[in-house]
């Protein structure tokens, strides 16, 4: 099977490098719309704007403790031997305020968070004074602004609080709220059409016929797409060109991106490449990565179409290296694969001339590759990282350093 690629001809025998494939995907932009939502529903969404504070926080000088607002200058000479008695002239509870201006040797009882009354410049904690009817006894000097939360000490009006492309976490949302903001512009959640192709695919059953295979990719992709903060819509399609074209056309029209599985190798009934080529354009097919070589990427109706393998392990690797970064970038998230170097716990060899991705276990700073066949899906759940050998690595001996991507670093939450 030969696929037209940007005017050139290409078969699976000429593979492009992981770097080239990544560059080609990244060279295209698929920006999403944004929407205003109430701040109450912003947790876990991606900011579509830079957010600046609309007010100073606190907006006024406030008591930082339950106690008594006073004039610090009145207390300069007070000590246990020289106690100071202040007249308590008012009482400001939570949600209350007072316009009474403090005169010399006066104090106002005040609750945490209440505004400091005019004239006062400090608060003394209630535990530090002796209280009697209408008077307190102060036996220490109180410094100016003691236990006062000053206007603007958290942030000032105009201060940058949040950048475009940031995931809104609980404390950021609280900060935005305290900056006077009650709605926020976020990126629309991407909607992803998933088309699992294959005459052999069935839903989970305990009695599969020998010619049938449980469509586990559907279930993996629901979650993988979910990890990218996107919504997925699942379709199943037989290996039939016309049916697939119909579904693909509809999915490209309805969703922000399409992911297919299966039908990208060159065997009987592999129709995905053909369908994409007829409806739009195949930009590449075949990447020098193992597992995951038959990856295809194309455009239909202006939407990216990621053509993944039917093999679950290959599909997972293809998703992590090519689809995941793209779904994040689409949302304006500055996501980069995080490679870290660790010592390998045993000899490893790369596949010939291939960017080789092994499932591995990182334990106590040493990375151990799993010895496993490509079809062992349990190898994904039994591992915690990818061990990467690039095209030129060849062999690494035990104790040599090797790049690793932790699965936990693939997520942004």
């Amino acid at each position: 099977m030969v696929i037209k690629v940007q005017g050139a001809l290409m078969s699976l025998n000429s593979l492009i490098s992981v770097k080239k494939a990544t560059e080609r995907i990244e060279s295209l932009k698929f920006p999403l719309k944004s929407q205003n939502i109430p701040l109450e529903t912003a947790y876990g969404r991606i900011s579509a704007e830079n957010i600046c504070a609309l007010l100073d926080a606190p907006p006024f000088d406030r008591a930082a403790m339950d106690g008594y607002a006073l004039r610090s200058m009145d207390t300069v000479q007070s000590s246990p031997k020289n106690p100071l008695y202040l007249d308590v002239v008012d009482d400001i509870g939570a949600g209350e305020s007072s316009n009474l201006k403090l005169n010399q040797n006066q104090a106002v009882r005040i609750s945490t968070g209440a505004p400091i009354p005019p004239g006062a410049d400090a608060v003394i904690m209630k535990e530090k004074v002796e209280e009697s009817d209408f008077q307190i006894k102060v036996t220490e000097g109180v410094t100016i602004h003691q236990d006062v939360a000053l206007k603007g000490e958290d942030f000032h009006r105009g201060d940058a609080l949040l950048s475009e492309g940031q995931l809104l976490n609980p404390n950021q949302i609280a900060l935005v709220a305290s900056a006077g903001i009650n709605q926020v512009k976020v990126v629309k959640k991407p909607a992803i059409g998933i088309i699992n192709t294959g005459n052999e695919l069935i839903e989970p059953t305990i009695n599969p016929k020998p010619n049938m295979i449980i469509n586990s990719n559907k279930y993996a992709l629901i979650g993988l797409v979910g990890e990218c903060l996107a919504r997925s819509y699942q379709y199943l399609c037989k290996d039939d060109l016309e049916d697939l074209k119909k579904q693909l056309k509809q999915a490209a029209k309805s969703y922000d991106a399409v992911i297919t599985t299966g039908g990208t190798a060159i065997s009987k009934g592999d129709v995905v490449l053909e369908a994409v080529q007829e409806l739009g354009e195949v930009l590449f097919h075949g990447v020098s990565i193992k597992p995951g070589k038959p990856l295809g990427f194309g455009i239909v109706d202006g939407k990216p179409v990621f053509m993944l393998s039917g093999y679950p392990v290959a599909a997972a690797v293809q998703f992590d290296f090519f689809v995941r970064p793209s779904l994040f970038r689409m949302q304006g998230i500055d996501f980069r694969m995080k490679f870290q170097e660790f010592e390998v716990g045993s000899e490893v060899k790369s596949a010939k001339d291939k960017f080789t991705v092994m499932r591995a276990c990182l334990d106590d700073e040493i990375v151990y590759p799993l010895r496993t066949k490509a079809g062992i899906n349990k190898s994904i759940t039994n591992s915690n990282c990818y061990l990467i050998l690039d095209e030129d690595t060849g062999k690494l001996n035990k104790g040599e350093m090797c790049p690793v991507i932790k699965y936990e670093d693939l997520r942004i939450c």
Copy 2:
């Protein structure tokens, strides 16, 4: 204010240790119900059962590559100089099967994933043979089981796939699907009633009156509760004992746990402790932690009530150390706070006799505490970890080791 605690009397002057407070919360169990859900909706849920495979995976020997199924013994002498010609007697595409038994020097064209026909015991990749009409030319020896995914090689019927209390991630769900399972028993999502108390609390606005404070805790808690895989329901309550009792009673009846903010210190209008004591029981009030000392914990209508501070930073620390572990445990998740030791980048002092929690930045294996007042909410978003000094630490010099909890380790996703 004096609170009855299990028959004893206790005021905020007698604080219990963080360890004791944790033990007291942990001594009580608040298990949640479970529910069966379709596997399609299981991503991000917590398994409420141990799951074992209902079948072998693969359930039959399958082709691992596109190629030709053959009898390996036929090929023992084949080489480029001594090529073997096999008759292609059938063609098994995806979703197809064949009951034709292979005889000597016969082969069957086969697609990846298709069942190996009777008599065959290996597959040779199509790239390795020369194909002509009804025949292939084999020029190498093929080992038994070459490119065959053997029945049960991924897992066997009865193998444990998943444990109770595990977060269902994409690849685990795919594994469960491939084990023949289409629904799963998960823990009911906890529903948490949040009651923010305070006459001074208002929704975000750019023109707050001096006596009003934007209720940022509501927004922080929506997200924090969300991080614990729970749903939150928000209520606002004035500092009024009867109103609060009414809301608290309703919330305890409706939800799996209640979180309050504000009203736990001993100042004018602090009514939360009183309300809990009248409706149920206060189990402790006052913990030797800084920030977060006025934490209260009680039971109303059999439900836990976490009484947090009104101060956002204190409430966040109380949530992370006491509420978060409890919400996880409620769901059967084996969550432990993960303390790691790092060098401190500057001198740090603990608050006298208090378990001291500082917001800090961990950078290149060195932890730097933020110098900040308690009211600086931005200190949470500007930090990436807690630096912990326990009651006995006193002072640590630059370069000494200190326990740290990374914020990322507080989440389980």
